[in-house]
């Protein structure tokens, strides 16, 4: 990227440890411990341990503390849309629709504005406030699924597919094993299934985060924590995808493994996760969602980060919107679904 034309200026600079806001003397989602971090959400690849000070929404702070009980720094709670003034710029956080507490970060000065999406999706879900698209001149967007092959069905359809996959498994006396990220997707799945009357057994990594969800007003009457031993008939087991090949899952002889992720678009995830059913249940925007967000934000230029950033930037540029891929400095692999 040509630094003279750096579209992120004056709000953000790519530093080795992540994006840096000179106005607020804070890094955004840095990959390592820093003095002050603004966190878009509490996934591990965005919320590293050991920061001196963290700024985030209340649920994100809550989740961060549950994941990092050793945290001894200070925390600043920021509400959605609350104006945080700085020298020559104002910062606001906006819902991102990704997971509980997730936000987009917007900076505005007298003659410029920038919206960083963090991780986001535009499809509705229960546990994250729906993403908004505040008008901004520059859009720094995540592009985890920034290629046109990634088109996910309507969320209501995806949920219906999930519910019927579980019922099919019960009909054949198999235990549905749902592969879903510990933070966000597993709680969302538990709520979707409980509305359908299906009880869930949650992996410890998911269960320990429930207090944050309960404080945010969600209840999980049909969920219980996993304890060693068999899951009862009629219950669905929810575990992170990295458990797919561990004894926890493999020892369940009659199982139907259901992989819930945007990556389920790839047939090869069947072998990667030893899965029977692939459902594109995503917490990230699909390609049409990325384009819709860009259009609604009305950005004049785009910087793409994460995933297929270079491809997305090329495609958007070919449609007449100046676009760049953020250099590798802040690039990290997305948290496994």
């Amino acid at each position: 990227m040509d630094t003279d034309a750096d579209p992120l200026r004056p709000f953000l600079e790519p530093h080795p440890e992540g994006l840096y806001s000179p106005v607020f003397e804070a890094h955004v989602d840095p990959g390592q411990a820093v003095a002050r971090a603004i966190l878009t959400h509490a996934h591990a690849d965005h919320a590293a341990a050991g920061h001196g000070e963290i700024w985030a929404t209340a649920p994100t702070l809550d989740l961060y503390r549950l994941r990092h009980p050793e945290f001894s720094g200070s925390a600043r709670e920021i509400a959605y849309e609350e104006a945080i003034p700085g020298l020559g710029a104002v910062m606001t956080l906006h819902p991102a629709g990704h997971v509980l507490g997730s936000c987009q970060v917007r900076f505005e000065s007298a003659d410029a504005s920038l919206l960083f999406t963090g991780d986001f999706k535009r499809q509705p879900c229960r546990t994250a406030k729906a993403a908004t698209a505040p008008a901004s001149r520059v859009l720094l967007t995540e592009t985890t699924f920034g290629l046109p092959v990634f088109r996910f069905p309507e969320r209501s359809r995806v949920e219906a597919i999930l519910i019927s996959a579980c019922r099919d498994a019960f009909d054949e006396e198999e235990t549905p094993v749902l592969l879903a990220a510990a933070l966000g997707k597993s709680q969302e799945v538990a709520l979707v299934l409980s509305e359908a009357g299906i009880p869930t057994v949650l992996h410890g990594a998911s269960w320990k985060l429930l207090p944050a969800y309960e404080r945010a007003g969600f209840a999980f009457p049909l969920s219980r924590p996993y304890e060693s031993g068999p899951v009862r008939a009629g219950e669905a087991l929810v575990v992170p995808s990295n458990c797919a090949r561990t004894p926890l899952v493999q020892k369940i002889r009659r199982r139907r493994v259901i992989y819930l992720s945007g990556w389920a678009t790839r047939e090869s995830s069947r072998t990667d996760y030893d899965a029977d059913v692939l459902i594109p249940f995503s917490d990230h925007a699909d390609f049409p969602g990325l384009l819709a967000h860009l259009s609604e934000v009305g950005a004049e230029s785009v910087v793409a980060t994460h995933g297929y950033a270079a491809d997305f930037a090329r495609i958007v540029a070919s449609r007449g919107v100046p676009s760049w891929a953020l250099a590798d400095a802040a690039e990290r692999t997305p948290e496994s679904p």
Binding site: L147, R266, R270
Partner: protein, 547 residues
């Protein structure tokens, strides 16, 4: 059956179902259900397409469409630029799947399996990529997404649904309630899964007879890891040298001769001296054996033979410089009688009867009773310039196209090298979508020179872990190949070293395989080009390389 032509979509949906099924039996039942609905030409075509190719094996035809042509056709039909097509195929791990996700709706008339068959057959007769592209574009325009997925998989050489030809044979047996072995035999003898399906439906399997000059599958051997495992039953095995050449079937009737390679390609024209010697023999027969470079009364190195490969009509000088011979070790048919179902010992007797006037060399047979005797024979085989030993059960039938334990092969890795990975690419088949093929290099001063490429010998789990590491250290992309930072050190085992201009090091490894990861070593610790030169001299006795 009369009425509506059968839609390719039905077949494609069956393949999609099979791909999602875990158990072999479920896959067989799905395929059988698809086959049961068909008859006549449509049944024959469907059986071939379900096993991955529109052609019968004996037809020797291939669509031969390059990846670039497929991608250009996909670009024209989907409206996405080539770069996006390529990126999408890499992201999804398969071009067919990627295109099926990019296709909106079909615009042309729907596809019948007869239409697909004739289009694929037309491709095999075309030379120009542009012409082929037009045919593929037409197919894709008429295709539903699921049809596009399997059309492109067929054209790029693999359906990858976890069902091989044997599975389709079993599906035919299940569909028409006939004996599985009879189906396998009919396919072997007819060289056509389509004709086999039809005969199974019509109760004519027994009428299918073996025909010379239709290529058939090769019986394959499983490796012996530890000679002690075979010692208790050594007396049931005959022992032969394992030749380092090109496996071939020689079909011969009167003056007509055809040599077919492991890939069932007709390679007769590459070896005119073998063909003319066989042509002079009396009678008709089918032999299994090895084409080797031959000099001074023994097999020469594979490297020598390599210079004879791929030349349709070798020049006289080359014929003189690198003479070749056919060493026969099995006789599969003689004077009109197929011998596949005969025991090895009976087939051997027939081979020996033919040998004196057959125009071929006869592989010598020995026996061993102990591991010590195995070792002795092994050393002697190596001294004759051969790769190792073959063990063949004397009471075994010839299982065409199968890898079993009736034949065993024993080779020993001669050495290992520590190398660094310089590039990776996605594997095929079961490992499609995984970065499982590694190109590796040795060190020369502070540069790295490639010396080989190996399909990973690692477990799926290890490959997956390595894959995410390689994705992080990718420094460039060249088509399907990712160049990576030279930092991952491997130990590769191999059988021998040859001089070769395929790689920058000037050497190539024969049968390289990854022995283990060496996280304990850095690229500074790996073997050097000088080490390779020294090994080469030691292993081949070739002192012409200065060390």
């Amino acid at each position: 059956m009369t009425g509506e032509p059968v839609s390719y979509g039905d077949l494609a949906r069956s393949l999609a179902t099979v791909s999602a099924q875990r158990g072999k039996l479920a896959k067989i039942e799905t395929l059988a259900a698809a086959l049961r609905l068909l008859s006549g030409d449509e049944l024959a075509i469907a059986a071939r397409l379900l096993s991955g190719s529109p052609f019968a094996e004996w037809e020797q035809a291939v669509t031969s469409v390059g990846w670039a042509t497929l991608a250009r056709a996909a670009s024209a039909v989907t409206g996405w630029d080539l770069e996006t097509i390529g990126a999408s195929a890499r992201a999804i791990g398969d071009l067919g799947e990627a295109v099926s996700l990019l296709l909106e709706t079909r615009s042309g008339e729907s596809l019948s399996i007869v239409a697909v068959d004739s289009a694929l057959r037309r491709l095999s007769t075309m030379r120009k990529a542009a012409e082929k592209q037009t045919v593929i574009e037409d197919l894709l325009r008429r295709a539903e997404p699921v049809e596009a997925r399997y059309l492109l998989k067929t054209l790029s050489g693999g359906l990858r649904v976890g069902a091989d030809t044997t599975t389709v044979e079993e599906a035919i047996a299940a569909a028409f309630d006939v004996d599985r072995e009879a189906v396998a035999r009919a396919r072997r003898d007819s060289g056509d899964i389509g004709e086999t399906a039809l005969a199974a439906r019509e109760g004519r399997l027994a009428e299918i007879r073996f025909r010379l000059f239709h290529p058939i599958g090769f019986m394959l051997a499983s490796p012996i890891e530890d000679p002690a495992e075979i010692e208790p039953e050594l007396e049931t095995y005959a022992v032969e040298d394992k030749f380092d050449g090109i496996r071939a079937h020689a079909h011969k009737s009167g003056a007509r001769v055809a040599l077919f390679s492991r890939t069932l390609d007709d390679v007769t024209a590459q070896f005119p001296e073998i063909a003319s010697r066989l042509a002079q023999a009396p009678g008709e027969f089918l032999l299994d054996g090895e084409v080797v470079a031959w000099s001074g009364g023994r097999a020469d190195s594979f490297f020598k033979l390599q210079r004879r490969l791929g030349r349709k009509a070798p020049e006289a000088e080359l014929l003189e410089e690198i003479p070749v011979a056919f060493i026969a070790y099995d006789c599969l048919a003689s004077d009109g009688t197929p011998l596949f179902e005969e025991r090895w010992s009976a087939r051997r007797a027939e081979l020996e009867r033919l040998a004196p006037s057959g125009g071929f060399l006869l592989s010598a047979v020995a026996s061993a009773g102990t591991v010590a005797e195995m070792e002795e024979l092994f050393t002697a085989a190596r001294a004759r310039g051969n790769e190792g030993l073959m063990f063949k059960r004397t009471d075994s039938v010839y299982q065409a196209g199968k890898r079993g334990r009736a034949w065993r092969k024993w080779k020993k890795a001669t050495a290992t090298l520590d190398v660094v990975v310089t590039a990776v690419e996605q594997g095929h088949g079961k490992r499609a979508g995984m970065l499982s093929d590694y190109t590796f290099a040795v060190r020369d001063g502070d540069t790295f020179l490639n010396i080989g490429k190996a399909y990973s010998g690692l477990t799926d789990e290890e490959i997956r872990k390595m894959g995410s590491r390689f994705r992080k250290i990718t420094v460039g992309r060249y088509g399907p190949v990712r160049a990576v930072t030279a930092e991952v050190v491997l130990e590769v085992a191999f059988d021998t070293i040859q001089k070769s201009n395929r790689h920058k090091s000037g050497f190539a490894l024969r049968f390289p395989r990854i022995a283990r990861l060496r996280p304990d070593k850095t690229p500074a610790d790996i073997n050097t080009l000088d080490d390779v030169r020294e090994l080469y001299a030691r292993l081949t006795g070739d002192k012409t390389i200065s060390i």
